[in-house]
Symmetry: D2
Subunit: 347 residues, 4 copies
């Protein structure tokens, strides 16, 4: 039985890791942390949904205690993984960071986009970017996994195979995404995220300046074997969970929708959490909600010779906690689908 700690268990992503690991046959939660007035409280008092499902009290972060209690530690914080990961790794704990601090290989790029210094750049080399469908072997051997951002997961998975094969012009990529509000987290208690302001609204935000841009570009550059720059636009949807990403790129040759789908099928054959949609059908947010699926569809527009890729995922699952649990299974040699087989919840 793997012993599991979660640093930051009271945010939406952390609590979602708890939910997914509840009743897991090979993992047992042993240590949950929370800060401020949440420390000392039962998680079920902070999330009544979990009452009767998990019986753990949130504690302060005590690295020595975490290391004694856990084989694997999930870090689900906006800030702080740079502080906690090094001592945990030293003590032999496997670390999966759901935040952004180990995703970019280039510390300078991190500092430019995140406006803060990187305090352990030497770990960036060791950290593995945790997209199992693309980097499974490296994850298998990793002690530290940087769990991808929600938008990047949905953008990279459909584009990667097409760039690898040189099917699209890498200078023409536009990624247009829309996310549910849970992506903002539970601590964003500002006017912008009040129900009355978000409901019946739709807006673009952080246009041409979103921090997920360099993360998308890093992975696409690996795929293309050369630097790729993209335009990325995030939008806020009046829904709780889910991301839909619409990606545009110009095709290098005149190929058909079927050709694009064939390339995706070939790359992701046997992937348990990728569903390629048949020609004529496209993913919708809700078909993936509640599951660890990333659904992908495509349509070629022969009038403009562009391909339009549509991908959908639950931002808290394949876009965060589910992918983190998937990474855990890969790192620890478990069946990759354990605890993640629940079908989407519909309607």
């Amino acid at each position: 039985m793997l012993r599991i700690a979660i640093i930051g268990a009271t945010g939406y992503a952390g609590a979602e890791v708890v939910r997914l690991l509840t009743g897991h046959p090979h993992a047992a939660l042993t240590y949950l942390t929370a800060s401020g007035e949440r420390e000392g409280k039962l998680l079920g008092d902070l999330y009544p949904s979990l009452r009767g499902c998990v019986d753990l009290t949130c504690r302060a972060v005590d690295i020595a205690a975490v290391a004694e209690s856990a084989d694997v530690c999930f870090i689900a914080l906006s800030h702080g993984a740079m502080d906690y990961a090094p001592p945990l790794l030293e003590r032999g704990v496997k670390v999966i960071d759901l935040g952004a601090e180990f995703r970019l290989k280039d510390a300078a790029a991190f500092e430019q986009w995140y406006k803060k210094p990187h305090t352990c750049p030497r770990l960036l080399e060791r950290a593995v970017y945790g997209l199992p469908e693309l980097f499974r072997e490296q994850i298998r051997a990793a002690q530290l996994v940087a769990n991808p951002g929600c938008y990047p997961t949905s953008a990279i998975l459909p584009l990667y195979p097409l760039l690898e094969r040189g099917m699209i012009d890498p200078t023409t990529i536009i990624v247009d995404s829309a996310s549910g509000v849970s992506g903002a987290g539970r601590s964003k208690t500002t006017v912008d995220y009040l129900f009355s302001e978000v409901n019946e609204d739709f807006k673009a935000y952080n246009v041409a300046a979103h921090r997920h841009t360099p993360e998308i570009e890093q992975a696409l550059s690996w795929a293309a074997g050369a630097p790729v720059t993209v335009t990325f636009t995030a939008h806020l949807l009046p829904i709780t969970r889910g991301i839909l990403t619409t990606t545009y790129a110009t095709l290098v040759q005149r190929i058909s929708t079927a050709d694009v789908l064939a390339a995706l099928h070939e790359r992701y054959a046997n992937e348990p959490f990728i569903r390629i949609y048949p020609e004529g059908e496209l993913p919708q947010v809700k078909f993936a909600t509640g599951s660890n699926f990333c659904d992908i569809g495509a349509k070629v527009d022969p009038r403009t010779n562009r391909v339009i890729l549509i991908s959908a995922e639950d931002n808290l699952i394949k876009g965060a906690a589910g992918q983190a649990v998937q990474n855990m299974t890969v790192m620890c040699g478990l069946d990759e689908t354990t605890g993640l087989r629940t079908p989407p919840i519909f309607p």
Copy 2:
């Protein structure tokens, strides 16, 4: 042209008064107040929806300046009307308070339910409870109007005529209401009102302890000519605007739905903002949204000899700003529907 000030123009209710008075033929906004970092800003920068529609900067509260600039002052604050109303009245300004501080005639009841002392109890006698359909003559002569609460408006209007006529047993009244989230205001930036928490949820709150209870009971007691006690339950709906109130009461005699509707029709004949629904049809929140209507329907349950009353209104209009503007027209001798004739916006 009436000159209008609004103290607290940047809350939802205050901004709604602004919206309703924009383009009003007989009223001109002259003075808007806001506190904190909002002071000194254009209202259109705080509410981009109003950009290009109103060109006023929010100022600090300066009672002398307000009194010089305005004939009528709306106060749209949770706390503070007790401080501002007396000096404004002294200076001859008519005051319409959208808050709760002048609604209860009994200062002790106010202090018990609102947990704070009443600092000008002598004004309670002068204040008129601003439900024009019931107290139009007093409002006409008033200098100070206490604009009713959103829930009380929806509960009192259907019950009043039935109590006046002794049609229902006053000991059996249960008022079950549900409101959109805008009722909580724009300053409630807590986890409870985040989109992700409210969306796809429904809950009861302040059960058997809601502050609108004594306000409902006060008006119903006037109708019954004797003290009335009710059970009142508020619920939070995952919508922005609107209240639906379902009221239960046992009938004194075996009468029909048609009899109840006839009593309502008779009481509210010629009322421009009350719509009594025909037998077999019932109000829905959305049929009133965006308008100053209070819609009322009824159904008698012969199996239990209870009447079920359904009332609907836009909580920010008939439940707050619209009723306040309606009170203004009555106090100032204008046509009561001026500026309030816009039909509901549907769908």
Copy 3:
């Protein structure tokens, strides 16, 4: 391995049974039916959410084939269980009917409320009302279980213990419920259920005439040992899943909230799917969504000597498919929580 058939697998309730049984350790889906143009299609083509999760084609209803393929048959139809249940029972198949046709013991009451004749009234005696928390022993021995309605489940569970103990006056019960739209089913493609009409709305419907009324009364009469009549009002919430029921009743004696909660705790001690909320906290729809829980809370209003009971459930799970699966486990001697332990999905 139990072999499972579902008649009516393409409605929301039927598809939810499929979802819950996917990956079940002791049950395997063998036969799904659908009618009209859905016959012959893969369920995953009708519910893309289930693509890759279940690989069965929908077939026409053929009772002989169903009986050969299945040990247990769920019937998830509005109409038709009266036709299919008798021949299935004859062939030794256990039947769980999610519809209303076997819920009322009194065929005359059925005919009065449902406006159609009952074609096999003799089965009403054999049918067991499938609320495991109250009737587990009878269910264990049953061949035919009438799965309760969604509203009745939420109304009966909190009231039953209080009536059994004579704590409330049975003539004063008012049940005020609100349900998400999925309760209307997938085949109600009328204007009333279009997104644009339901969204931002809230309405009461079938007031004093809802078909769940006699079902609630039947169970409450069993609890009270005498006929109970209630006022029941259903409302339509602009959410997909979930029911919140607010129930009012006058207390026979002056007791406290703690007394009421103690009675509930005692009755439901060790029930895996009932959560009694601590004093001062109340259930919310969203705390139960995605789970088989029925959450219950209570508050006594000493001013009126009424108790207000709040109960919440996912209408498609504890209110339909989850309870049906729970009944299956009881009828077949499995651990009652198998396949139903997933915590609620929040936010």
Copy 4:
């Protein structure tokens, strides 16, 4: 007083024209049509929101009667304007068609995209494309106005000035739009538009095949003075009203956000229904809801030398009925803002 007929008054767009003209100082509704079982009913019985606001019965289409009753006729049908417009124009009635049948100048393009023959192609020359901000002089002289589609309005207004000035490369335009569900109309009573299916969802539809594509291209070609081809993607938002369009185009030269905004400001100076957002701020759907505004913002991405244009409108107002009323005022020489000055309704 202009006398107004509406053919198709019971769809969302037609009923919105009714709502906007209710209480209009220079226009009086005289003739409303509806088909099927809606014929002979009061509009207020079909739209209870309008009860007490408009007192007209829906009648069958009788062109002679319409022509006798009305100076201006709005046609708000999916199909049929080709039949009704010619005889109305012959009888001297001004016609504003909210449908698509007179928008494309090229009958062959119409037939290709709409899959039906055009029965009066000679009228296409006379029809004026009703975007007053761009074609006001032609509209002033028109007898027949083709009211633009909702998506095209939001796409053309921001792009037109940039193409006129040659600021963007016309081969790089990608228009990514998202609309509220009311755009589908009230008669689309299929599973796809049920609340439970749309709620908490987001999807692309008619990808690379939407009928608004040639309409957008036609207007952009006029602006560019040469044929323009675009990629256009429509998405369905889980909101009732509103469109947000995110448009991407590569800049011809390295210019700044301020340069783009200056071009927009210059083109739309003095336009009462266009609001250009200041640098650093962007439109949101909800800031325009309930109004006739089209809000426009821009951001240049220097990393890719693309401009991202964001535009927002209420699809039923500036995207349909409001623009139609605006066209009426232009055609009839009224003040263009009469009846359209209501500020957006927020929150």
